[in-house]
Subunit: 129 residues, 4 copies
């Protein structure tokens, strides 16, 4: 389920954060669904529990999940509290990536295809339960 690249220069916990974000964004993990426990996931992936812990903490800070003491971690309702700051950041990033893609010769058509794929992949919060 999680494919981590232990050889990557990107820290494992960051990879985990990204994977989780993807799973939530793609609707695989739905609102209020419980995440695997730190220890369970650590064992499953055979990595240090501290690493999982760190990833969960970051996801919480980003507003993707919330944690209940003694209960576990759960998926948050998103796309509501999107402060404009986050939006600005992702827009900036998107523009930068688009520019680089165009510069490297990727055609507008290809980009539109990617956009369709992305659009199809989305499962927004309101559709989920």
């Amino acid at each position: 389920m999680f494919e981590l690249d232990l050889r990557s220069r990107k820290p494992i916990y960051e990879q985990l954060v990204d994977k989780m974000k993807q799973l939530i964004i793609n609707g695989v993990l739905k609102k209020d669904e419980q995440l695997p426990s730190v220890r369970a996931l650590a064992q499953q992936l055979s990595i240090n529990p501290n690493t999982i812990q760190k990833a969960y903490r970051e996801l919480e800070m980003l507003g993707f999940i919330y944690s209940l003491k003694g209960k576990g971690s759960f998926v948050n309702q998103l796309s509501t509290q999107n402060n404009s700051e986050e939006l600005k950041i992702i827009k900036e990033k998107l523009k930068k990536t688009l520019t680089e893609a165009l510069f490297l010769g990727i055609s507008l058509e290809e980009i539109n295809d990617l956009m369709d794929e992305a659009n199809r992949g989305i499962k927004r919060g309101e559709d989920n339960d």
Copy 2:
């Protein structure tokens, strides 16, 4: 001209690499144009020359610039050696960013606007000399 975030978790030299890439991609720095010298830029940004040097070295390995001992560092002719590997990576990244943007509620219209901006910003190699 260069705004570095010394507090960022992203290493300074990497920020420099990104900035330079942007400047080259956007045509601000043109083919064979000389970059600021290692020492000069170091003084201007009040960071260590070795850090600049590291950034320049990386840019050289990435094919964005070339360095002549005793002469200086210069912008390379790009968009020629685009190996497919790079293309694949940027496409993947673009798709991921698009998905996240759409998920966060950015409309297709806004994205198209960004794409126009990006397209206008591009100055490709053949326009430069």
Copy 3:
């Protein structure tokens, strides 16, 4: 084990890169085998850790090793991503060296002997684990 020539015009870190490449190519260092730590090797060779680091970084960019923060540096699986560019370079170099050898009076027989030695010395990836 490592014989460095501190007087040589070739930078120490480059000598290190070459030595390591040889050790990997000759199968002395096998796939996923851990390299000596930056600090350990630095002490053993009585050179600065930064120099080792630079060599390891270069080996990583060349695809010969991979590094895990907090874990160490390890030999990569090779002979898979041989892009044709590298092949062209080594062929050119080989032809030049052969020409020089022949010119200096080394016989075809001697060269064939060297080729046998080289061939025997090779330990390719598939033999290693």
Copy 4:
């Protein structure tokens, strides 16, 4: 006639040395033939005369040319004073290159082809005048 790569990381004077060696080895420059003067060559290649000077000095040290004060520089008779030291070095280098080539998957057949090419390219001293 001389194609120098000003962008290369290899110093210009070293490139010059290599080119000259090739020209001598390939018999383009024959025994006792006069080399272009430092100033002429400098102008032709539009590089600094000091750089030419340095290259000639090195070629002289290597035994490829000799210089007569007030006369100029001339091609030496080679393949006679090949001390065994030089031979050992080139053999070592050849073996290393062969090993790397084989490791990278270049076939014995291809290497034999390169050897034929090299052999055909050679014009030894005794054939030259």
